[in-house]
């Protein structure tokens, strides 16, 4: 063999270096540079200008609304994820794979379409439009619509982390707990939950990041009322379109920091508890 490294399972050092350079170059160009630019633009006029953005009442209202939406969305999808995983992983019934496919469905729907379906249901010309007007209720172009659209786009995050893991774990441990006299809820709290806690946390992280950062779906149902129905991403859009670059990028930097923290915690979880997560990285 004329392979210089003497290893038949690797390429020549020159080829290897070239491929590493291509990979690093591509990632730096397409993935890392947009991230860096967010912070560069946010601090383009110094730290004072950056900090002043967060004193604005509209910006604070947007941050508050984003936190509110996440505070409703994440627990709702956690309860759903636990219920769905319990039913699917611990019992056998017909149509299970169809149910799993349906749970994953929101991932293959464009965010804009996700917003559109709620307008078709709750909008003024929608299915329940007349009824809602008659009862003086508003869902679309108001906070409830934003919450619904966010729940839709983040729907599968928790469930899809829990279902494969709990299927893998089976129900032997729960059965043992019941045999030893534990009640059903106690078996769930002291056996099932500790077994899936890292996967649950992983799902919550991803769900929260998406809930706080969602743009397309929320944009369709929000109505863009300043200080009332603008989440952080929508406020970023408005500021950017008004050529208020520092303010737009300052709020964007807040969201980018959230993304970095999420990525960091996610990597830490995969590194420390990789076995307890089993399936990850498939979106």
């Amino acid at each position: 063999m004329s392979n210089a490294a003497g290893n038949v399972r690797s390429e020549r050092p020159a080829t290897r270096r070239a491929l590493i350079a291509v990979a690093i170059g591509f990632l730096a160009l397409f993935l890392l540079s947009p991230l860096v630019v967010v912070f560069v633009e946010a601090f383009a006029k110094g730290f004072g200008a950056f900090a002043a953005v967060f004193a604005d009442s509209e910006a604070l209202a947007a941050i508050g609304l984003t936190l509110l939406v996440a505070a409703i969305t994440v627990p709702a999808n956690v309860v759903f994820g636990l219920a769905a995983a319990w039913a699917i992983a611990k019992f056998s019934f017909p149509g299970k794979s169809l149910l799993i496919t349906l749970i994953d469905l929101p991932f293959s729907v464009s965010p804009v379409v996700a917003g559109l379906v709620y307008v078709l249901v709750f909008g003024a010309q929608g299915l329940f439009g007349d009824w809602l007007v008659a009862h003086d209720m508003q869902i679309v172009f108001a906070v409830p619509g934003i919450v619904l659209a966010t729940i839709f786009v983040t729907f599968p995050f928790v469930a899809r982390e829990l279902i494969p893991l709990m299927q893998e774990q089976g129900s032997v441990e729960e059965e043992a707990a019941l045999t030893l006299g534990a009640s059903g809820p106690r078996a769930f709290l002291t056996v099932t939950l500790p077994n899936v806690k890292w996967a649950l946390l992983y799902g919550v992280l991803l769900c929260n990041a998406r809930a706080m950062g969602e743009f397309g779906a929320v944009s369709v149902v929000s109505g863009h009322i300043r200080g009332l129905t603008n989440t952080i991403p929508l406020q970023v859009e408005i500021l950017y379109n008004e050529y208020n670059s520092v303010a737009a990028f300052a709020l964007a930097a807040l969201l980018a920091s959230l993304a970095l923290v999420t990525l960091g915690l996610k990597t830490l979880l995969e590194w420390r508890h990789g076995d307890a997560l089993k399936t990850h990285g498939r979106h």
Partner: protein, 286 residues
């Protein structure tokens, strides 16, 4: 539930189990899924069926919509092809080579999943804008990226890359070293070993990643609209046209475009399932 007159055990929806809580858990799952996802989506399908095939055809062939759909599908396809090539290289380098900063680079691949689309959107628009870090030197060379279809391509490459890397990586890790060694022992060059022995089992994963990246690109909105400039007939994407139609209170038009997009995404998903079924038969893994 039916009452069976037969003497044997009556048919039950759920197999017998000592664990409690199936009823509430299953019931809540179905209720929540139906209310949040299935009912709203079926309203869309119901509105679309009201349009009929001729109505859908009319929406799709409206010149501005036709231009938007063709922009979305051709550029999504091109971005997915570029992602497939470079994603394969990135996955290869990350799984098979050791170099400083590899772990960091590996974590960075998920950035497009984590970074909100609007943030990526304004960042790309500023980066490739006439005065941007990349935009200014490119403009000097006579290449305009922002506010052209090239800009849409850049944004869709960003969005789709992790899909390829994350589907190819696990398969690359599972490749048996004996196969490569056997090929080398039998006298194959390294290039030939890679081409004839290692890439064929990776092909289904690359195809799956390609289809996922394509489906995501077709529906992408936030990261595209800022850099695209949204010029009618040139750089308008299909999801943007849904928003435009809604702003004009043209619910039928919006429904029509959404239905066409959904149909294409589902076709891509179906293709993924077929590729995976074929791959399981051929290679014994997904």
């Amino acid at each position: 539930m039916t009452l069976s007159p037969a003497a044997k055990a009556p048919w039950r929806f759920k197999a017998a189990s000592v664990l409690p809580g199936f009823g509430p858990a299953f019931g809540f799952t179905l209720l929540y899924l139906s209310l949040v996802v299935l009912f709203p989506l079926s309203v869309l399908v119901w509105r679309a069926s009201g349009l009929g095939f001729s109505g859908l055809y009319q929406v799709a062939t409206e010149p501005r919509v036709a231009a938007g759909l063709s922009t979305t599908f051709t550029i999504s396809f091109a971005a997915a092809v570029i992602d497939a090539v470079f994603g394969l290289i990135v996955a290869w380098v990350l799984t098979r080579y050791e170099f400083p900063g590899r772990g960091l680079l590996d974590a960075a691949v998920d950035l497009p999943f984590a970074l909100p689309t609007a943030v990526a959107g304004i960042s790309l628009a500023s980066l490739y804008g006439p005065n941007g870090f990349f935009g200014a030197p490119l403009a000097a060379l006579g290449i305009k990226v922002a506010f052209t279809r090239l800009g849409i391509l850049v944004a869709l490459i960003f969005v789709g890359l992790p899909f390829i890397v994350r589907t190819v990586q696990p398969i690359l890790l599972e490749l048996e070293p004996e196969l490569e060694e056997a090929a080398a022992t039998l006298g194959a060059s390294r290039a030939r070993t890679i081409w004839r022995v290692m890439l064929p089992p990776l092909a289904p994963a690359v195809l799956t990643g390609f289809a996922l990246a394509f489906a995501r690109a077709v529906g992408e909105y936030g990261s595209v609209i800022f850099i695209a400039g949204n010029i009618a007939y040139v750089s308008e994407i299909a999801p943007l046209l849904i928003v435009v139609k809604l702003e004009q209170y043209d619910y039928a038009g919006a429904t029509g475009i959404a239905t066409i997009m959904l149909a294409i995404s589902f076709a891509a998903l179906l293709a993924i399932n077929l590729v995976q079924a074929w791959s399981r038969k051929r290679f014994g893994h997904v």
